[in-house]
Structure formats: C-alpha cells, structure tokens
Symmetry: C2
Subunit: 613 residues, 2 copies
Amino acid sequence: MSNGINWYQADLRELKFVLLEQFRYGEIAGRAPFEAWGVEEATAVLEETYRFAREVLGPLNTSGDREGCRLEGGQVITPKGFKDAWRKLYETGFKTVSVRPEHGGQGAPHALQCLIEEILSGANPAFNMYPGLAFGAAELIAECGTAAQVRRYVEKMYNGHWGGTMCLTEPQAGSDVGAAKTIAIKNGDGTYRIRGTKIFISGGDHDLAENIIHLVLARAEDAPAGTKGLSLFIVPKKRINPDGSAGQSNDVQVGSIEHKMGINGSATCVLNFGDNDQCIGELVGGVENAGMSQMFRMMNGARIAVAVQGLGVLSTAYLNALAYAKERKQGAHFKFWKDPNRPRVAIVEHPDVRRMLLEMKAVTEGIRALLVKLTTHLDRSRQLAGVDDPKATYHRGQVELLTPIVKSYSSDAAFRLSAQAIQVYGGAGYLKDHPVEQCCRDAKIFSIYEGTNHIQAMDLVGRKLGQAGGAHFQDFMRDIGEFVAQHRANPRYGSAVEALAAAQESIMQSAMVFFGWSQSDKLHLIPLNANRFLSLMSELAIGWLLLDAALIAETALESLPATHSDRPFYEGKRWSALWFARNVLPDVEHGAKLIAAEDSSPVEIPLEAFSTH
Amino acid sequence: MSNGINWYQADLRELKFVLLEQFRYGEIAGRAPFEAWGVEEATAVLEETYRFAREVLGPLNTSGDREGCRLEGGQVITPKGFKDAWRKLYETGFKTVSVRPEHGGQGAPHALQCLIEEILSGANPAFNMYPGLAFGAAELIAECGTAAQVRRYVEKMYNGHWGGTMCLTEPQAGSDVGAAKTIAIKNGDGTYRIRGTKIFISGGDHDLAENIIHLVLARAEDAPAGTKGLSLFIVPKKRINPDGSAGQSNDVQVGSIEHKMGINGSATCVLNFGDNDQCIGELVGGVENAGMSQMFRMMNGARIAVAVQGLGVLSTAYLNALAYAKERKQGAHFKFWKDPNRPRVAIVEHPDVRRMLLEMKAVTEGIRALLVKLTTHLDRSRQLAGVDDPKATYHRGQVELLTPIVKSYSSDAAFRLSAQAIQVYGGAGYLKDHPVEQCCRDAKIFSIYEGTNHIQAMDLVGRKLGQAGGAHFQDFMRDIGEFVAQHRANPRYGSAVEALAAAQESIMQSAMVFFGWSQSDKLHLIPLNANRFLSLMSELAIGWLLLDAALIAETALESLPATHSDRPFYEGKRWSALWFARNVLPDVEHGAKLIAAEDSSPVEIPLEAFSTH
C-alpha cells in the first residue's frame, strides 16, 4: 500500500551490477580525481541511500501528492515533512557525493551520483526536484561564475543551505526561449535591475532553505533579439549581506502556483521579478549575451536528471507491480482457466502479466545501463583530460550524443510503462491505495520539461548526428560494430546479435536519409521523422547494452555453483536481453522503412481539413 | 479553459458523415422497426444532444472531477449539479432514443444512440456512467426478465426514475468471475436472501434517482462451483412496494467509495449485501445458474459502451488540442526557427505538432467508423431477422467479432492519445487549467473495466475467431477482400489499398499461426500474443474503414464546386486514410512477423529472476 512506510523498493543487486560489472566502476574508482571513492565506498553509499529513501522520502511521496503545495502570504509552503526531509538529506551528504572537494563535496564519480539520484527520485520524484535544481544551479555557477560568485554561492547551494532554480520560460517563450522579454537594466555598479515574469519555475519558491538563488535568463538593454541577446543573471530571493548571509527581500514575488496532474509536492511557480523595480541581479561570469550557452550547461545536466527521474519512477512502478503480481491470486493456470477446482495462482503466473513485467524489467535495466554508460563517459572524460585528450574527447562526445536520447526514451518509457504497471494491477492499480497511478501522473511531465522530447529529437538529428564532423555518431556505431563482430558467433546470442546488427544497419541508412533531406527541398521531413529516429536510436542503444549485460552475466554464470544465490539474477539478464532483441530490435528495421517512405501527409493536409470548426 | 462553459467540442459534420454517408443510415431509417427515425430526425437529435452536452454536461466535467463523490450517513453524494443534470437529461429523452416503444422508448437505431452517447460521454464521461449503467441493466431485464420483472423495472430504469448497476467483482473475483462467493439462500417464496460483498461497483450508490436496481451475480445454495453455478439476481436498493413505488431499505450497504486516478465524478463503491440478512433478491427470468450468459448480454453492451466512452474522451482531447494548437503561438516557421525576426506562428504550423494531431484525427475517425459499423450491424440484424435470416446472422456475427476489438483499441487509444494531447499543449497540458490531463486520467480505466483488454484479446483469439466455424472472421475478411479488389487500381489510393491487402494477408497468416498453436503444445503462445494480434486486427479494421471513408469523400468532392464549404472536410478524410495507410498499416505485417517468431521468453524466465527481492 502506498501509505505503508516501506512501499519504495529498489533492486540494489541490479544497481551494483550495472555500475561495477557492466561499466567497470573499479577502473575509474580510487584514482584521480576520484581518489576517495573505491568500490566499497560506492556500494556502502548506495545501501545507505536506499535505507534513507525507504525511511524518509518514500513515506512522504503519497502524502506530498495529496497535500500538494500552497501559497500563504506570498510564500510557498511545501507538504508536511518536506522541510525535515530536506534537513536530513543534507545531513547524509548524499547530495554532495560527486561534488568537487573545492566546493565542499566528496569528489566521487558522476556515475555513482546518478544511481544515488535514481534512488532518491524513485522514492519521491517531487521532493527530489528541490535539491536537484539547487544542485544544477550550483554546478552552473561553479563552472561559469566569477571567483567571487563561486565563493559567495556555490558551497551553500551544494550543501542545502540555499536552494536554486532555473528561470527560462515566459508566457510567450516556452520552446521558443529566444522570445524571452524579461529585461535587465544596468545600475551602473555592475549590477542590473531585473523586470519580467517567468512561469513553470520548479521550486520557484519553497520553505526548505534560508534563501533561493534564481538563475534568470533576461535581455540586457540594447542586446540583440533572439537567443543571442540573452544573458544569465544570478537573482537571489533575498539579497546577500556583506557577511554572506541572506538579507532583505529582493523583489521576487510568487504570482501563483500551478495545479497539476502530478508531481504535486513540487511547487511550480509563476515568478514576478522587479514588480517594484527593486530586483537586483548580477551577470553570471560578468559577461553579457552568454546566457544561452551558460544555461545549456545546466540544461544538459537537467536533461540527464530528467532521464534519471524517469528511471527512478519506472523502477518503482516495475518493482511494485512485480510485488503485487507475486502476491495477488486470481484465476487458475491459463491452461485450466475455466476449471474452478484447480488451485488459484498468483497473477505473475499468467503469461500476459509476465509479458508486461518482462518488458518493464528489460526497459528499466536498459535505461539504467544507458544512464550509467553516459555518466561513466562523463567521468572518464574528466579523468582522461590532459592525460589522453583524444580519448577524453571521445567520451565527451558520447555524452553529447546520448543526452537527448536518454532524456526522451526514459521519459516516454516512464509514462508508458507506469500505465502498464496499472494494467498489471488491474482495477486496483487505478486506485490511490497503490503507488502506480501516481507514478503515471508524475511521469507525464518528464517528456515535456527541460526541452520537450521533440526538442530532444531535433537536437539529435539537427545537431548531435553531425557534431564534430559526425565523429560522435561514428564512434557510437563503431563501438556497436565491434560488439557485433565479437559476439555474432555466440551460440546462445548469435541471432540476437544479428538482430542488433540489422538494427544498426537500419540506423545507418536512416541517418543517410536524414542527411539527404538536409541537402534537399524536403526539409519538412526532418522534424516529421525526428521523433521516430530518436526512438529507433534508443532501441538500438538499449538493445546493445542489454546484450552486453547478458554476455557479462553468462560469463559470471559459468563460474558460479549451481546453487549460488546470484544465479537467478544473472539468468534474469539473459531474458531481458533476449526479450528485447526478439520483440523490440526488429522495430528498428521496420521504423527505418517508414522513415524512408517519406510520408509528408501531416504537412500536406490543409489546416481547415482538421475539423469543421 | 476547462472551467469555461463551452470547452466541450464535437465535430457534428464528421458524426453525420459517418452515420449518413459512410454507413448509409438512410437505408435502415424510417423502416421497421425504426419507422419514426428518418435522416432528419437523426440529425436533429444529434444537434440537440450537442447543445445539451455543451450547456449542461460539459461545465460539470471539471467540477465533478475536483469535487468527487462522498459518503454521508451511508449515502453517496454526487458532485454539485449532477442531480440537476440527471433530471434535465431524462427530460430531453436522449437516453431512450433507441429504446423500444414497448418499454417507453422511441425506437431509433442503435447506431444513432451510439453517437448520442459519444457526445454525452465526451462532455462528461464520469457523469454519463450513471445513466449508462441504468440503461444496460434495464436492457438486460428487458431481454432476460420475466414479464412481471419487465413490467416492474424496465421502463422506470430507462426513463431515469431508477438507476441500475452490474455487480460482478468481489475482492477475490475480478477477471476470475467464477470465484464469486456471494450466496443466495432460498426464502421459499421464490425470493432469495443475498449475502456477500461486491467491489468496484460503478454508480453502486448515488443520489440521482429514487431507487437503484442492482444486478448481482451470486451462487444459489448447492449450485456448482465456477461460472456455471452463478445466478443473476435483481436486488433493489429499496424494496418495491405492491404499487410499484420504492419502499423500505433492502439491506444493501455502501461499505466505502474508492479514491481513483480519474472518473472522480462516478462513485465506485464497495457494496455489502445482507449484512443483516435482510437483503431480498429475485432471480432474473426465474432461472438458476444462468447468470453468466444473462450477464453477458449486459456485458457486451457495456463493452461497446466503454469503446464509446473512449471515443468520446479521445475526440474531446483531439478537438481541444487542435483548438489550442491553432491559437497558441510559439516560435517561427521550422525553416527559420532560430531567426528572431521572422513572425511567430501558431504551433499547428510545426510539423511535429501537426503529425500528432493528424494521428489523433485519423484514429478518432477510425474508431468512430468502427463503432458505427458495429452498431449498424446490430440494427441491420434486427431489421433483417425473420426477413433474411442468413443476412441477419452475418450482421450479428460481425457484432460478436468486432466487440472485443473496438473495446480494446478505443480504450487504449483514448489513453495514449489523450497523453499525446498533453504533449501538443506542452507544459500547459499538464495543468488543471486545461481539460486534457483529465481526459488522460479518466481514460486509463477504460482498458481495465468491463473485462481487461487482455480478456478482450483472449475473447477474440480464443472464441470469436473460431465462432460459427470461423464464419464471422471469414465474412470480415471477405468484406475487406472485396474492397481491395474494387479499389486496388485507384490512382490516388492504389498503394494505400495494397498496404491494406498486405495487412490482410498478414492477419490471415497470423490467424493460422494461432490455430496451429491451439493444436500443439505451444498453448502458452496464445495468451502471450493475443494482445498483439488484437492490435493488428484493429489496425486492419481501422485502415480499411478510413480508406472506405476517403473513397466516399473523393466521390463527393468530384461533384462539389471548388469553393464549397464542405471541401476541406472531405479533403481531411483523404489525409486521415493516407496517413494511417502509410504509417500504421505496415505495422500489421511487422507485428505478424513477431507473432510468427514464437518468442516465449516471458514464460521461460524463472520467477526468481525478475528481481533479487
């Protein structure tokens, strides 16, 4: 039951497998710049995070959803228990595991932080947005701020003393960020007066921390139109005193909070800056018109964070549905369905329920592998910078390429498969007595915020495929090609590997089709097919990583005694990979054919033909 | 905005097209047994229903969702305005349009009632469940009850004087209906004392009508186990006085009401029958152990009604998303996306938004066509009974075959495409300020109740395909075959018709594959692939009906002047059909290959391998 204290579940064995066995955390751990973080430290912190998530965050997930946030005297009040959980969370240090020591952090790899965040978001996605945004904003200032800004803000934001937000969207400027009208007027002392309205600001106000540091995209006087003229400003909710403490109000007003389908524990605010012309901001890094590229540093992290959120919610939906399916008895074995004298069985024995669960298992594991791969690339690129720069560049390129893919695929899967979890429960899943309907409501926003999934798809086909002369894409394909060459003769997996090879070939062809369109008068076919191409790329990536995991598992099985308790886990890897290879990988070839067919009906239909209104 | 009085929209031109032009309502109208209902009467009632839905039901959809139902002193209180709407609805006579005159109805075809119900459910799906269940229960008593039962109950239930329910599910008996434990003990006077608990009872109690007539599946003393031993009882909430009025309480208690993801205006009740052993029921038709076949008469109607609900909600989501997309400006034309000096355009100009909308349009129209086809078969079978019995049998067979298909496809599409409507809106769609998030929440239950979609799929592959020696399926395929033969040379639609033919061929092969499994030791592959087969059958049916509609539209276009206001509507039919033929029909061949591949991984994976818990 969702009100029970321990409804949150994670499969730690699986998390450790992905980190340690599949992505060989041991190779990067314990070495600069991650000296303090060996394998033992990593597994210990995952176990502690899990305990904390079950005891502190999980129990607030349902209550936070039901209670929601409210606005009282211009101040957002978060749901009961959130403030206490915030304090406890920052006491644990989980939010600073991957933060660099010079900012008060513990210097661990990102891949480890990724799994910590999966657990925190899986237990309470709405709550974890507040610290998540503080983290992202701190990271941006750490990377782009002046030395004084770094000193003033970063550590306090990393350690939960202050919160943080990213303020891009305005009523007329959503996907079209460049249409932002918020303005910044020079005060003459290096600071600016900010005036404008921002909407959809997650954690735009809350009662969890002493202060909130807003990062606000605004246009300085006389700056050019569009994204080129946007600058990024640090705008604290309360002005900072000379001693570094939070002082008087900075004329940032909460206009209202939104009422939403889900993530009700997270306050989504309308923020009015400078209604009384008293809102003071300072330029990030002291440079004008660099706002978009600065914001994108946070945005890329935020996109990965949304993928992690999706993974967390999906894993929760899967493991709860699995637990329910093991416990809930209904009907006899399918071969004797109509025989009332046969024993009743748990619904996990019914083939269709099992099919739904195996899909959820495979996709969850595939997304987790893709995220740990991506963050491991990030860690390796850091580790190799200055040591082996070409390799560092390769790793950085894979991060670029995989970010839009994992953001979209994870967010779509989280919603679709949370709905499938409801289906596993049957009518019970539609009730608020169980956690899965909330998973589904919470997950719907993931495909929209931090760049809609179509924005991701356009980023992939319009930017990432051709980035660095196509090197990131070619590297990715080469890695798969090497895997195929190595394993296509495998007796158990040979035909699955062939399916992977066929999918890869289809992606190659589709990429050429897109390239052709970009050189032709068929430009409209690019946005029309971008989402489909992103889906197919995702399926290729997931199919590959599941097969990779299965082959590692097979090797492990060879040396395990027949009664070893790890055997079922490794066997599970086999079935995730085979199910995906047989049921999903063939979609890639099929989808590529649809792309090549060049249907343009959506742009050919006249607007008046959509309805007679 | 969802709170505005006129957010509900239907496209009456399209409804009239499907009824009058595609399914030639004129051929059945005005002739026995539908003498009073010509084309003019039909269009007039659709227009009146639409006006009523916009003015009375639509405005209560949002408020009903927010307020929900509550239990006060053992009585369910429905949301504000529902009682008044109930009274007004029954004053209009819309709910008795297709009811036979001998039961106080107006004797119109079912196809017309189907579209009336689409409008009522589209405006307020939760509200329309109360009269919908009363209707279904009345129909069951009308068909299966004794003459005295028909006299006592039917007219009062059809005219809204009394409500009605169907009570099947128990805590241990959901999909496994035969596990029901509610018992019926003979009183010796022909009546029974009912004892047991039923759950998930839609409209199980409410304050809309003077009485509620429950139809309760229960097991008479000494009846056999399983479904064979179930009898159906009429159990009024208040006992009926000798003069036919509602009298004293009949010991039916509302245990609780459920808190759900959606359809919050519809009270989902736990009902306790006979806690004080004072609950009196009478056998429907006076016969024991006939409960399942009796209940299935209501159930089949209820399954069609769920498909209609799905269509109503989907159409609402589509038309609202379309209206928003026409109005909401964001970004420049995609070719000049980054140019801030280009004019901003409505998002309906963006190819990806248009792609989403065209999919919603095509699927909505396809489901509507399938439902009007199905209900027209029902009407023709009635009209031809005793006149041309083989034809009547053909029509009845198509109703049997298409019921599980349309129930599943419509319910899945309503949920999936309501979520797509949210995506069209972007962040705004996630807010309760707009109606689409509620569409999505409301729609999720449609794939579960009245038989989960897997139950439908098993009904299709396990029963309907082989019913009457396979005649229904063969008739359906023959009809498509004739269409293909007639139109495959059409210059504009030839390749789309070829895609239909290929899909048909694939379905034929898949049906043979299922037949082979049923004769082998691969029985588990049937439930594993049933949902996929049902999806493919649906796509074949929808693809066919969209092409059929398009060809009718082309003929109409030939004789219309270039400036005629109907031209855009007919052109819209063309693009629905072509989009579906190019983007969805090829799925059938692909899906059939996956079926033929006989993957059984979901039953091969050991249970312990799903997770390490």
